[in-house]
């Protein structure tokens, strides 16, 4: 790759790229991320849609907030279980809305640590806003 083809203006995310300089030498340059420069808006759109769809599932009682954050943070059941130090079978239960209220405070804290949020923040998604009420209108 020639230096001129690798130079991308994206101050939000800088990366190191190895390129061919004019004298033929290969050297690192500090440049911008191609995908962040061109497609960050698309990432944010998809993220918003995912959050909305998961929140809808939480509010309609299909899944628990633990499931919400597990999917958002791209974790598998085994990975979450290993990271939180909670048996897989228990985590599986905790992903269901029906068992969420039985989770002790200390266990919630273990999950919150993995998700890097506070327990109150984790519970915030259970609060229905007016926007959610519109989204939750299933026509019944």
């Amino acid at each position: 790759m020639k230096e001129k083809d690798g130079t991308i203006d994206c101050p939000q995310q800088q990366v190191i790229l190895f390129v061919e300089k004019e004298d033929g030498k290969y050297e690192p340059i500090q440049t911008g991320s191609y995908i962040t420069k061109n497609f960050l808006d698309d990432y944010e759109l998809k993220r918003r849609h995912l959050e909305e769809s998961l929140k809808k599932q939480v509010l309609s009682g299909e899944v628990s907030p633990i499931y919400y954050y597990m999917i958002l943070e791209d974790l598998t059941l085994s990975e979450l279980s290993a990271r939180a130090g909670i048996r897989k079978g228990k985590v599986k239960k905790h992903l269901e809305a029906a068992h969420f209220s039985d989770i002790p405070q200390e266990t919630l804290q273990l999950y919150a640590d993995v998700f890097n949020i506070t327990v109150p923040d984790m519970l915030k998604i259970l609060v229905v806003t007016s926007a959610d009420s519109t989204n939750l209108n299933t026509g019944s």
Binding site: M1, F18, E20, I35, N38, D42, D74, R83
Partner: protein
């Protein structure tokens, strides 16, 4: 405690970057591409179904940790390493080393590096940073992926060093404790290259090396069956670009950095044919870059039908063919 004088430099990759920067700061003049090449960093592995990954994925570098171990073995450098069961002990030990003015590399879960933008941060337990000081509750960190030295909350560093899950860091830390005065780079380069050729051509594992690229090419058409919906598939397809370009590779899935290694090695070894091979590797990298751009484009446009995925598969098979020829020639030139 204050900051240890430390020359921070961005690098292509976190592990080769941390190792290079520690060695540079300890007085050894070695480039990141040489570290990467000598430690047989170039690689390919495809993982279709694994418990720890929520979606099929691939890697373009060797096993985490082996850049340090291979380099140490081949150059005669000794790194002091430690792991901890107890987080308090692990944090205390780090502080003690910093008190002694020793910059220390630590293994962390990338997710807790809160100085990086949210869209970059994923749970991956094999990120490496160098800690160079502490001011109050914050550590001063040299991260290859960030332009300057940066502060990280003590609580975030603790969570990151003691995250559980696959390849959990267990507080792992290292720093160089012995660097030989005389180093035989020639022998180390040849050994590292030989091993890289073995991994790319000969290793009898169906998802590693050239075989791994071919498996990826074949299996990519199955990706829609793992996706929740089109947007999820689009996200995963666009991640091909991120894994090849943004997640610390120096571009084109490490192929540009490997080309640079070969160019530098051709001078050290006095092998002009390696200069030709380095040009070839740069062109191979251009092909990987096309794959990255193609993946980003079809993901963004939601053109994710079987035809497009087959096209992506054909492009990947093209890389497998050229890399197979390339690594055979490289192997024969040793």
């Amino acid at each position: 405690m204050s900051t240890i004088p430390y020359k921070h430099k961005m690098a292509a990759h976190c592990e080769s970057g941390a190792v290079t920067s520690l060695l540079n700061n300890a007085g050894l003049d070695i480039s990141e591409p040489l570290v990467f090449g000598i430690s047989s960093g170039i690689f390919f592995g495809y993982f279709h179904k694994m418990k720890s990954f929520a979606f099929p994925t691939f890697i373009v570098r060797n096993k985490p940790g082996s850049i340090r171990t291979n380099l140490a073995k081949r150059l005669g450098i000794k790194f002091h390493t430690e792991k901890f069961r107890n987080p308090d002990e692990g944090m205390k030990r780090l502080d003690e080393l910093l008190e002694k003015n020793i910059p220390v590399a630590v293994q962390v879960d990338f997710f807790y590096m809160d100085y990086l933008p949210e869209w970059e941060r994923v749970h991956i337990n094999v990120h490496f940073i160098v800690v160079v000081g502490k001011t109050g509750p914050k550590y001063i960190v040299s991260d290859s992926y960030f332009p300057n030295l940066v502060e990280l909350e003590s609580s975030s560093l603790r969570k990151a060093r003691f995250a559980g899950g696959s390849m959990s860091p267990q507080g792992f830390l290292f720093y160089p404790e012995y660097i030989p005065k005389e180093i035989d780079y020639k022998k180390a380069i040849l050994k590292g290259t030989k091993k890289a050729c073995f991994f790319m051509l000969k290793i009898p594992i169906p998802f590693v090396g050239i075989k791994g690229i071919r498996m990826f090419a074949k299996k990519i058409v199955e990706w829609p069956s793992f996706a929740r919906d089109t947007e999820h598939l689009s996200h995963e397809i666009m991640k091909i670009n991120i894994l090849l370009e943004d997640q610390g590779t120096g571009g084109a899935g490490f192929r540009f950095m490997y080309a640079t290694f070969l160019q530098q090695a051709s001078v050290i070894l006095g092998k002009p044919e390696w200069s030709e091979l380095s040009k070839e590797m740069m062109e191979i990298g251009d092909g990987w870059r096309e794959i990255s751009l193609f993946a980003a484009r079809i993901g963004k446009n939601r053109e994710l039908g079987p035809e497009r995925l087959k096209e992506l598969g054909t492009m990947l098979n093209g890389r497998a063919d050229v890399e197979e020829r390339f690594f055979r020639r490289l192997r024969n030139s040793i």
